[in-house]
Symmetry: C2
């Protein structure tokens, strides 16, 4: 009977998602019983994490491979411990769950970004129409935190990890007898990810929840995996970063580093960076992004230089290179940032809309 | 020569604002010289603060009169020390300025609201077209903070005070020889204020900057003074609060307390609260507001009850009573809050738009 129910649940779950999927149920023997006698805890590593470019990481929830430690600037390496953009896909037949997460850093917030965004977690689930909807978030209060949620039963759920902190561990707790599954080959999961390389803004500064980072919104709207390689203050397009990115095989490379670069670096580094990627990936679309301007100035000084680089590369025969203007990126009311630079939730939603409009047609060109 | 320049400056400043105004220049003798030898500090009390309903306050930057201390619940009294909605209007011929502010509470942020919103300050200035534009904000880092700004030269500026902290003092520092003025009878300043009475959401939870609270946005868009009587968790429409509000003489009363009330309180307290205001103010528009729903549910349970109260009062002959549905208040994408309740910057902008649409026509009915 239990097996039949499970099978029925899984079939319903995946038919409901609109695609015939192969789910992978987590063996209940791999759960750890809570002293409360009712809850089984499952390490999220059992489900796997989405948004990692490399598997050979020092810590499971790192964003950079261990070899980067000796190659990239220390600031980049350290920021690679932040779990920006990492998320866990799961399904369950339980209408209640808990999440317990242990943070790497003691500093839970920034002056212009709340703890919920810096160190919190966010749960989204698909609704009846298959659309992703915010369900709830977990507020951090210390090193180890626990939050309760009502997940979307029998549907895909996404749990977003902290944007400006890292996690040592993260576990999902569900009532004994309930099932936890990876959605498996859910729609979109067979597609190559979009890789975003950029700045603090790319990393998600300064939204109120992880699910509101532009990369998270893009991932949900286009239903595609996203790798967030935003490094606060340190997205400077070093040749070492070009070598690392060239190892990935995404559907699109998005290069959005201008806020962290001066004019000299734009002129010096973008050209060889693009050529390196193009050498390794002859046809993958590459999108060069102008720096946003809360005052609605287009082009910016560095955007002007980036246009020149784009035009030169195109003239030299580089195919599949695109340019994204900052127009409409933060709106025209000057209200899209917390500080004149970092988008607030209003600005990030606007920025995400501009990205989605630019990226959707490029996906069809990606092989 | 100096006098002529000053006169020219003031004339230009007020002609520029589109209305012939009477400015009040702050006597430079009232400034305090900074040890740096270049800066003169002016206490903002010299300029006056907008957004106070009462002048007889225990502390200058309190929102409630001293008599409220023994009348209202202690939680309301304590929250009255928070400077939500208070702002300072000024003009200057200086292109640079500093603001130094000393906070009441040590706790600078909340888990779901950054320090910039809780304890920070925000500067807006009019642009060439007379529109208010965000210019910059001050990040708090401790008890006393200092931030540098580039104000709108020769135009109206607004300095917003912290939303969830109070200030013991706030001063503007400008270079010696420069002028600081009250804009005087600036457009809108002759109009009666709109009074908002409500909850944590009214108080500004959980925006990233004070200028993004819905009441602040409404004030700028409608160019009218606003009194923010939002009391986090404690906007419960006690009879004592009706007595206090009845002392004010606003253009509109906005009653937006449902998130802090249960069904019983809605049925019990709204009716006598409205009747009290109407007794003292026979024709002032009163707007009853439904509680927002991030899931886009209309009516909410309590909204349904509030509609019943509204209909009963109207049937009983109460004129000038209006009802604001929560439709579109947080959008339809479930993304307008930080936690399912408190608007983030995205949701607050949407909420403000709904308020502005509802309030603009009522202003013309106000005497």
């Amino acid at each position: 009977m239990k097996f039949i129910l499970k099978t029925l649940f899984l079939s319903w779950m995946f038919i409901n998602a609109g695609v015939l999927l192969q789910a992978a149920e987590i063996d209940t023997k791999r759960g750890v019983a809570d002293p409360d006698g009712n809850t089984m805890w499952y390490d999220c590593q059992l489900l796997g994490v989405e948004g990692k470019g490399w598997t050979d990481t020092e810590s499971y929830y790192d964003r950079l491979p261990v070899k980067a430690k000796s190659n990239v600037p220390s600031s980049v390496w350290n920021l690679g411990h932040d779990s920006a953009g990492l998320c866990v896909y799961f399904a369950t037949d339980s209408s209640s769950m808990k999440v317990r997460w242990t943070l790497r850093k003691n500093s839970l917030s920034m002056p212009h970004m709340p703890a919920t965004g810096v160190s919190g977690i966010d749960l989204y689930g698909r609704n009846e129409a298959g659309k992703w909807r915010f369900l709830g978030n977990g507020r951090p209060a210390g090193g180890t935190n626990c939050a309760s949620f009502s997940p979307a039963v029998g549907k895909d759920n996404i749990l977003y990890l902290p944007l400006y902190n890292g996690v040592k561990s993260i576990e999902i707790g569900i009532p004994k007898g309930k099932i936890l599954s990876t959605p498996g080959q859910a729609y979109g999961k067979q597609r190559k990810p979009i890789v975003f390389y950029g700045t603090s803004i790319t990393q998600g500064g300064c939204v109120s929840r992880p699910g509101l980072a532009a990369t998270s919104i893009v991932g949900r709207e286009l239903d595609i995996p996203v790798i967030n390689l935003g490094f606060s203050g340190s997205g400077k397009m070093e040749p070492e970063m070009a070598n690392l990115l060239a190892e990935l095989d995404p559907s699109i490379f998005v290069l959005d580093c201008l806020w962290n670069m001066n004019s000299g670096l734009v002129t010096e580094r973008v050209d060889p960076f693009v050529r390196k990627l193009r050498t390794m990936h002859p046809s993958t679309p590459i999108l060069l992004v102008e720096d946003s301007s809360f005052r609605n100035i287009t082009p910016t000084d560095k955007g002007h230089l980036l246009r020149i680089v784009h035009d030169k590369l195109t003239k030299d025969g580089i195919k599949g290179l695109f340019f994204l203007s900052n127009e409409e990126m933060l709106g025209d009311d000057f209200e899209g940032t917390v500080d004149g630079c970092h988008p607030n939730d209003l600005g990030m939603m606007r920025q995400a809309s501009v990205f989605i409009k630019a990226l959707a047609p490029l996906l069809s060109q990606s092989k």
